[in-house]
C-alpha cells in the first residue's frame, strides 16, 4: 500500500573504529545512555515523526539485529502495513554483492522501497545521537519544491574541516558542497540526513550504478551529480544536540553529555520518547556501603561500591570496595571487589575480577596503542580480566590482547 515517505536507515558495517564493542552486533546496536542502543534514536525519531516504514540496511550480523528489532513492537513499528525490516545484502541466483557504498545499499533494495510507492524517501545514518522531527524537514522539502533536502548543523568554524560542508545562498539553496574542505567557506555541516524525491533519486542511483568509476556514495557521487545537473537542493537548518558516535572518544563523550544537569540531550522527554527494547529486570539495588553521585544507574544493576560520573547499563554489578569514575559500563558487566575503574568503557558482559586497576597512568617505558581511544581504556565485550590485573589508560583489551596486560600486571 502506498506510503508518502519511507525511511532507509544506513546501519552500516562492523564499525571498525568501535570494533571491540561490535563483536556480536552491528554498530547501531552499541549501547548508549544507560538504557538505549544507538539505533533506538533514528527509529524513535521516525516513529515520533509518524514515519512507520523503515528499512534497516546492514551488512554485518543481520540476524542479531533482526533478533533485537523483533516484530518492531518496542518502537511501535509492528504495523499491518509497513514496519521495520532488516535488509542485508542478499545473494540472488545470478549475483550478490556487498554494499559497495551508501547509495548502492539503497539501490540494491530499491524493490523494497518500490513496494510502498512512496513520494519521498528519508535516508538516515545509524550512528548519530539526536532528536529530530523529520516531518518538519519533509514540510520544508515540500515547501521548497526541492529535489533533495539535506539537514545541516552549524558547527564551530574551526571544526568545519572535519565535515561535509554545504554552501548555500540566502534562500537556503545549496550552491556547492565540499567534503572535509581545508578552507571551509561556511560552517553548515551535513548531518547525513537526506530527503529525496524517490523517483528522482531512483534515476540518479540508476545512472550512478551504471558508472563503473563511481564509489556509489551519497556524499561523493549522488549529491555532487545532482548539484551538477542543476537539481534544486536545499539545506534544512537543525538546531540542538547532535553527535556522531562513530569513535570511542565521541561515544564516551556523548555518554558523559547525558550526565550534566540538565543533560545536553533530554532523554526523558514525554513529547519525544526514545523507545528501546526494555530488558526484563528487577529495579536496581544499592547496598548500605554504596556511594553514587552524578551517575545514571539502570534496572538490574547491583551497586555495592562507589560510582561517580558514570553510566551503568542494565544488569551491571559493582562489588564492595570497587570504584568507578568517569566511565561507561555496558549491560551485564561485572566489576569485582576493590577494583578501580577510571575513564573507561567496559564492553557488554565483560567480567572485571577483584583488585583490578583500569585507566592507570602507564608505567615507565610502557607503550600503549591508543590511536583509537586517546586516554579512554576500553575493555571488549565478553572479556574476563583476572584478579589483580592493571590496565593502563588508553589501552584496548580484547581476548587477544589480554595476555600482555595480565603478565605485566601487579597488584596495586
Amino acid at each position: 500500500m502506498k506510503k508518502r515517505i519511507v525511511c532507509m536507515l544506513l546501519a552500516g558495517g562492523q564499525g571498525s573504529r568501535l570494533g571491540v564493542l561490535t563483536s556480536s552486533m552491528a554498530k547501531p546496536a552499541v549501547p548508549f545512555g544507560g538504557k538505549f542502543r544507538i539505533i533506538d534514536f533514528p527509529l524513535s525519531n521516525c516513529v515520533n515523526s509518524e514515519i512507520d516504514t523503515v528499512g534497516v540496511l546492514t551488512q554485518y550480523r543481520p540476524l542479531a539485529l533482526n533478533a533485537y528489532l523483533g516484530t518492531g513492537q518496542h518502537w511501535d513499528l509492528d504495523r499491518n502495513n509497513g514496519g521495520v525490516f532488516v535488509l542485508p545484502p542478499y545473494m540472488t541466483e545470478h549475483d550478490g554483492r556487498w554494499y559497495s557504498g551508501t547509495a548502492n545499499a539503497i539501490w540494491q533494495n530499491r524493490s523494497f522501497v518500490d513496494q510502498y510507492d512512496p513520494d519521498y524517501v528519508l535516508i538516515l545514518s545509524g550512528d548519530h545521537i539526536y532528536k529530530m522531527n523529520y516531518t518538519k524537514m519533509l514540510r520544508f522539502h515540500i515547501d521548497h519544491k526541492a529535489a533533495a533536502t539535506i539537514a545541516v548543523l552549524k558547527v564551530p568554524m574551526e571544526e568545519a574541516h572535519r565535515f561535509g560542508i554545504m554552501n548555500t545562498d540566502e534562500t537556503g539553496k545549496i550552491v556547492s558542497f565540499e567534503e572535509k574542505p581545508k578552507q571551509p567557506k561556511s560552517n553548515n555541516a551535513s548531518m547525513g540526513i537526506y530527503i529525496f524525491d524517490w523517483k528522482k533519486l531512483r534515476d540518479y542511483m540508476e545512472r550512478d550504478d551504471a558508472d563503473e568509476k563511481s564509489e556509489n556514495d551519497f556524499g561523493k557521487n549522488i549529491i555532487p551529480n545532482m548539484l551538477n545537473a542543476g537539481e534544486k537542493m536545499v539545506a534544512y537548518p537543525f538546531e540542538g544536540y547532535w553527535k556522531d558516535v562513530g569513535t570511542i572518544q565521541s561515544l564516551w563523550e556523548a555518554n558523559m553529555d547525558m550526565l550534566g544537569d540538565p543533560p545536553l540531550l533530554d532523554l526523558d522527554d514525554p513529547s519525544w520518547r526514545i523507545y528501546t527494547r526494555n530488558p526484563v529486570m528487577a529495579p536496581h539495588y544499592v547496598s548500605k556501603e554504596a556511594r553514587i553521585k552524578n551517575s545514571l544507574v539502570t534496572e538490574g544493576c547491583v551497586v555495592r561500591g562507589e560510582v561517580e560520573h558514570t553510566v551503568l547499563f542494565c544488569g551491571a554489578k559493582l562489588e564492595e570496595g570497587g570504584k568507578v569514575f568517569d566511565s561507561v559500563v555496558f549491560p551485564g558487566s561485572k566489576i569485582g571487589r576493590n577494583s578501580i575503574v577510571h575513564k573507561a568503557i567496559i564492553g557488554e558482559n565483560a567480567t572485571i575480577g577483584d583488585n583490578v586497576l583500569i585507566g592507570e597512568p602507564p608505567k615507565e617505558g610502557e607503550v600503549i596503542d591508543n590511536r583509537l581511544t586517546g586516554d579512554i581504556a576500553l575493555i571488549g565485550n565478553d572479556v574476563t580480566i583476572p584478579d589483580g590485573t592493571v590496565i593502563p589508560r588508553g589501552a584496548v583489551v580484547t581476548q587477544e590482547t589480554l595476555s600482555q596486560f595480565v603478565n605485566g600486571g601487579t597488584n596495586a
Binding site: D268, P283, Y285, S287, K288, A290, I292, N294, V297
Partner: protein
Amino acid sequence: MIQDAFGLIFTGEANPYMRDLTLSRAVAAVPFGGRYRVIDFVLSDFVNSGIRNVGIITQKNYHSLMDHLGTGKEWDLNRKREGLFLLPPFSTKDNTGVYRGDIDAYHSIMQYVRHSNQKYLILSGSHTIFNTTFEKILAQHKETGADITIMYNEDASFDPEEQNRDLRLLFDEDGMRVKELEWYPRYPRSNFRSCEIMIIDKALFEDLVEESYSRGGIDFVRDILLTHVHELNIMGWRYDGYVARIDSVNTFFRHSMELLNAPEAHDLYNREHPIYTKVKDEISAKYGEHADVHNVVMADGCKVDGTVENSVLFRGVTVERGAVVKNSIIMQGSKIRAGAKLDHVILDKGVTVTEGRMLNGFEGLPLVFRKNLTV
C-alpha cells in the same frame, strides 16, 4: 513447560486492611517491589510455566488492572487463540454486575472454562506473591491422582486483625493428604497456609461449582472445600521459597522492607524466571551531585539528589536536594521536594510532598498517603 493446564486468577475487591492503597484498585493492582503490581508475580509464574491460556476474573475497580495488563503483550499473552482473557463482571439480566462471592464469579465465566482446551485448571488468588513455576505441583497432582492439590508454605505469622483469605491445612499422618481445613481461624492449629494456588481437574471444578451454585453456595473455600473436605481427595504441595502475603498495609510494608534486608526475598527477583510487567520506557535512574543513597531498591526513571535509606522507590520518583527519605515506600511518579523529611511512610502514586514537610510514621504503623495527594 506445561501444556495441559490453564490458569484462572480471581482478583477480589479492595481489602479494608489495605486502607487507601486499594481506594481505587484491587489488591492485584497494588504496586509492589519497585516496578511491579501484585498480580505480575503470579501471572509471570503462569507464563514461566509455559501456560498460554489465563483468565483473570475482575470485579469493580478493575480499570487500573485493565490498564496495567492491556493486551497481555508484555507477558506474550496477546495471542490469536488463547492468551490473556479479562473477564469483567457482566451486566446481563442474570446478574447485577457485582459478584456475591467467587462461586458466583466462577459460575458466570464457566463458558470460558468449558471452552479451554486444557484438562487441568490452576486456580489462583491475587494477594500472594512468589516466584516459581507450576511443573512440580502439577506433576505431583497427576501422580497422586488427587482431586485437588493446594500449594502451601509454612508461615508462623498470625494477626487476627489482618486475616485475608486465610486458609490453613491440617494433614493426616502421611503429611500430604489434607484431613482438615481452617478458614479464617481465630486460634490457628496449623502454620501451613495456602498460597492461593489450587490445581483441579476442570471437569471436577465445573461439577463442584455448578452444584454448589445451584444450592446457593457463595464462597469456594467455605461452601465447597470445607463442606467436602472428607469426601474429596485434597493434597498439599509444599513450597519452600519466599512467599509474601499482601493482607494489610502492615504486611505490605514488611514484605517491601524484606526486599532490602531478607536475602530470601531475592527469590522474587530470580533472573531465571523473570517477572514481566507493563513497560514504561523510562530512562535510567539519575543520581545528582548531592545524592546519598544506601540500602535501596530503585526503579528506572528516578531522579535523586537527596538522601534515601532503607527504602523502595518506584519508577519516576523525584527526591530533591536536601530531602531525606528513610524506611519508606515511594510509588510511581511521587515527588519529594527539597528539604522534606519522610520516615516510615508509604506514598501512593503521584503524591507530592512539599518543601520542608516532615512526615513520620512508626514501626508497625506506616503512614499511607493516597494517590495524587499534595502534602
